[in-house]
């Protein structure tokens, strides 16, 4: 049971906004849900094929049938942006999910038991902090070849130590709370104490961090694609489009601005969620 499900039990509709963490987080979650739907429904929503080349309209400006204009190869920018969300959101959300899936248990166990267990788990994790993202991605690519999955694994590897450390430190603090000792004084077992008293109270900072990191992941993905290490053409990714559009920014700003806006909206949405949850997940906070 995560903090989110604890908060979401017994929801009445009118409380939904409050339960989602106030207007901020609700807005962020709303935007993200729309963007995820866009990514999933891209084949239905896109007015044109993302790969179709119209040689007559290279760098042509926005029009009614092509509201975001054309890129340097004469492809429809709107359709490409819609499809690009698949790679970009997939990589950013997937990387954070993977890092959380590994980092949460490691951080929880290390923080709760401390001592030798803590050292055994956290020192190898700390080693990961020493690996620069791009070098890591390049070495991964030399093994597997480039692609979105490689970008996903590289980003997850960078995020794992960050999230594990955040979880560990908040678990460490919560484990020393009187109510955890109180649970032990009521005869509640270690496993159950961790699960129902430590984790729900310690998860807040990690969830906030994860939502902010998801926003950054989009930018890292963009950087990797820019270097040709992420999504491979013709697969559209927001980072790749930004990189391509940059070269024609003066003649056809729409080829660069719309993917850039798409990234910005996504990052803002992730940050709204992060900020909203930050205040919401302090259980004693006034918003509770």
């Amino acid at each position: 049971m995560t903090a989110a499900t604890v908060a979401l039990r017994h929801v009445r509709p009118r409380e939904l906004t409050a339960r989602l963490g106030g207007r901020q987080a609700a807005a962020g979650i709303g935007i993200l849900v729309v963007l995820i739907l866009v990514a999933l429904l891209a084949p239905v929503l896109a007015p044109h094929s993302p790969d179709a080349i119209d040689a007559d309209h290279i760098l042509a400006g926005p029009s009614w049938s092509h509201p975001f204009g054309f890129d340097a190869l004469g492809r429809d920018v709107l359709s490409r942006v819609l499809f690009a969300y698949r790679a970009s959101l997939g990589v950013s959300i997937g990387a954070v999910a993977l890092a959380l899936a590994l980092g949460l248990p490691i951080g929880i166990v290390a923080g709760y038991f401390g001592g030798v267990v803590d050292n055994l788990l956290m020192r190898p994790i700390d080693l990961l902090l020493a690996l620069p993202a791009l070098l890591l991605a390049i070495s991964l690519i030399s093994i597997t070849g480039p692609g979105e999955l490689v970008a996903l694994f590289a980003i997850a590897t960078i995020y794992l130590p960050i999230l594990a450390r955040v979880v560990r430190s908040s678990v460490l603090a919560v484990s020393r709370e009187l109510y955890v000792e109180g649970a032990r004084a009521r005869g509640v077992s270690h496993a159950r104490t961790i699960w129902s008293h430590v984790v729900p109270n310690a998860l807040g900072p990690a969830v906030v961090q994860a939502s902010v990191l998801a926003g950054f992941a989009l930018q890292i993905e963009a950087a990797l694609s820019f270097l040709g290490l992420g999504a491979q053409p013709p697969t559209p990714s927001l980072g790749l489009m930004l990189a391509d559009g940059y070269q024609v920014l003066q003649q056809a700003p729409w080829a660069d601005i719309f993917p850039g806006l798409a990234i910005a909206i996504t990052v803002v949405a992730f940050n709204l969620v992060g900020d909203g949850l930050r205040s919401k997940l302090d259980p004693r906070g006034i918003s509770g």
Binding site: Y179, A183, R184, A185, R186, R284
Partner: protein
């Protein structure tokens, strides 16, 4: 029959002698107070009964609960007793309750940690407990998180949690210290009422003599880890036999010396890494004598038990023990 019997219990935190050779017995249905200053070992003693001392602490002696020596039990057996037969009320209710859980769920969890009952049954019992400790409108408040309750109501919830499995022994560690005086009186009433209804034995840890006088049957006075005096509360206040108890009671503010500084025993509480030999109060004691370098035994003096060489009874008992033990 005594519910709790401590026999020569000592607790060491590394080199710190936090509790030294404490023996006492608490009878069924009795409310027994452990009083003393901060750092005198009250809470350490309570935690040693709960089995919740940090791993670095070493406990010597025996702690008998309903005839079983707790110090001989494994961690699992002790966990099974905690919250079931022995439970604890902490000082600060606001931090003793998990902010992410509703109060009702915390009580139900305590029940389900020890009894094979379904969620519905546990909830019904938790509701009865909330009603019993005087939470108004309990069914509606069952789902409320702790921060929606006032301090006094939170402490009622903590007490309900402690009573969830009808413990034989309730340890209350300064249960009213974080509450204001009117709420304090209500909580004391509640504890008195619970004792009357369930015959729960209560070990109250307090530094507030007002609370002790209102609630308790007997009290034991701890100084620097040593038990210096045990007496019925009335007798303790009327006539303290031990010079430390006398000094402690003398330092209480009262109508007679409403002005000016309160009398205080000279000196400081000793360093527990290298406490003075024998009676630990001796460096500050007005009745200090040569024997004080030996630990005085707790001797019956009237209805008191007093450990002070300045009382003839302790001297007599000391001589007896010395003869029985082949000289000391």
């Amino acid at each position: 029959m005594s519910v709790l019997r401590l026999d020569h219990v000592s607790v060491l935190y590394g080199r710190v002698s936090a509790v030294s050779d404490v023996s006492l017995a608490v009878d069924e249905g009795e409310i027994f107070a452990l009083v003393g200053e901060s750092g005198c070992g009250k809470t350490t003693l309570a935690m040693s009964i709960m089995g919740l001392l940090p791993r670095a602490a070493a406990v010597a002696g025996t702690i008998e609960f309903l005839g079983r020596d707790l110090t001989a039990l494994g961690e699992e057996e002790r966990a099974a007793l905690r919250g079931d037969r022995i439970s604890m009320v902490f000082q600060d209710p606001a931090s003793a309750l998990d902010p992410a859980f509703s109060v009702g769920e915390q009580i139900a969890e305590t029940i389900r940690a020890h009894k094979r009952v379904g969620l519905r049954e546990a909830k019904a019992r938790a509701l009865r407990l909330l009603e019993e400790v005087g939470i108004p409108d309990a069914p509606r408040r069952y789902r409320d998180p702790p921060h929606r309750f006032s301090g006094g109501m939170q402490q009622r919830v903590v007490i309900a949690t402690a009573l969830a499995n009808e413990p034989a022994l309730l340890i209350a560690d300064e249960p009213t210290a974080a509450l204001d005086v009117t709420i304090q009186a209500q909580i004391l009433d509640l504890m008195r009422e619970l004792r009357r209804r369930h015959r729960t034995t209560i070990l109250l840890i307090a530094h507030d003599f007002g609370v002790v006088a209102q609630l308790c049957d007997r009290a034991g006075v701890l100084y620097a880890g040593q038990l210096v005096e045990v007496a019925p509360v009335g007798a303790l206040f009327a006539e303290s036999r031990h010079p430390y108890t006398a000094a402690l009671l003398g330092a209480l503010p009262s109508a007679e010396h409403a002005r000016g500084a309160l009398p205080a025993a000279p000196g400081q509480v000793p360093d527990l890494v290298s406490p003075p030999p024998g009676c630990r109060f001796q460096p500050r004691c007005p009745l200090r004598r040569a024997e004080c370098d030996l630990v005085p035994p707790l001797a019956p003096v009237g209805d008191h038990l007093t450990a002070c060489w300045a009382t003839p009874e302790t001297q007599a008992l000391g001589r007896e023990l010395a003869i029985a033990g082949g000289g000391a």
